[in-house]
Symmetry: C2
Subunit: 201 residues, 2 copies
């Protein structure tokens, strides 16, 4: 018999509702999908600051902190792209279950990949935002020089050039960035999010 009857195995985690109450908000995952260069990360990082000004803790997950960290051992094969999205969705779920607002920025070019994310995160918490910037504009911006490399054939299987982007069929929100600033786009997302992140009292 155990000598430590007071050690209760399987004590539960603190319930999500209590964590949300402490943070004063509901956890949600905003899943930004769109072409490379469409503005996903820039909008999300602006939104992170707007939320912070409202005292709402959030986290941005994008290629910069995911591909260099937890997914540093993944490449760009179809299998690795799916595993990339699977892990991101699982990490997002952990943050969300702990009451944070999670801003995920990944091209996630197919309905299958976004469906995987939605299924892992759960219908109630998943908000899909399509950052709809025309390919020509993304290519003109080419902030990382990736389109030029893809055109030269140095990158294969590049979404928009040599691989398809399947438009979201039923996103919760569509953001068109052609004639607005990142800050304006972020405010538009915030307006959509605000009633959904409030605790029901």
């Amino acid at each position: 018999m155990s000598q430590s009857p007071h050690i209760h195995p399987y004590a539960d985690y603190l319930p999500r509702a209590e964590k949300e109450k402490l943070l004063g908000q509901r956890g949600k995952v905003l899943w930004f999908t769109g072409l490379s260069g469409s503005g996903k990360s820039t909008i999300a990082r602006s939104l992170e600051r707007l939320l912070h000004d409202l005292k709402r803790p959030s986290v941005v997950l994008d290629g910069d902190n995911v591909r260099t960290g937890i997914n540093s051992n993944l490449g760009f094969s179809d299998a690795d792209r799916a595993e990339n999205i699977r892990r991101v969705a699982e990490v997002a779920k952990l943050f969300c279950q702990n009451g944070l607002l999670v801003l995920c920025c990944f091209v996630s070019p197919t309905r299958a990949l976004r469906g995987l994310a939605r299924q892992i995160i759960g219908e109630d918490d998943y908000i899909e935002i399509y950052v709809q910037t025309p390919l020509e504009e993304c290519e003109a911006r080419d902030v990382k020089g990736l389109y030029a490399r893809a055109r030269r054939g140095e990158i294969t299987n590049f979404t928009g050039i040599s691989a398809p982007f399947e438009e979201p069929e039923n996103p919760h929100l569509i953001i068109q960035t052609l004639h607005c600033s990142a800050d304006e786009a972020a405010r538009e997302v915030l307006r959509f999010l605000q009633p959904r992140m409030e605790l029901h009292t």
Copy 2:
């Protein structure tokens, strides 16, 4: 040229210091190591509640939410155990950089595995806590029935039975659970953590 000069690519993430200020604490990772059944998760879940009572947001990462989620595609080979710890450490780092207190509960039986975690998380944020419960006690508790199965040879490579546990050489804290409750153990960890999680003002 881009038509959207206001979209600033590579806008920075909100700095960690601002996130910590909002949450009123410094992010830290408590890495609980010890035999299966030593009490790691039970102590961490008690600590999660104590911290919550102090209005400090924290997150518990342990087998229950990691092995069923982000690491559901890993087994127990040496390579998979290392990948398990690598991914957990990367997730813990993300939470910590967003200002949360992270309570990681993993056997992590070798100095190499704990060194990997420490290296990923970073010296400043990593706090190693050795939950030092004698093997005989862990086996007597056998809350998951794993020791019995390991003794019958149904589980191979089981830490303490058929695989070694290398004691931490220089942990920040040692918790002995033989004669204290999980709550008492959690309070001991809290006393150690408290000055380290305070914001310097």
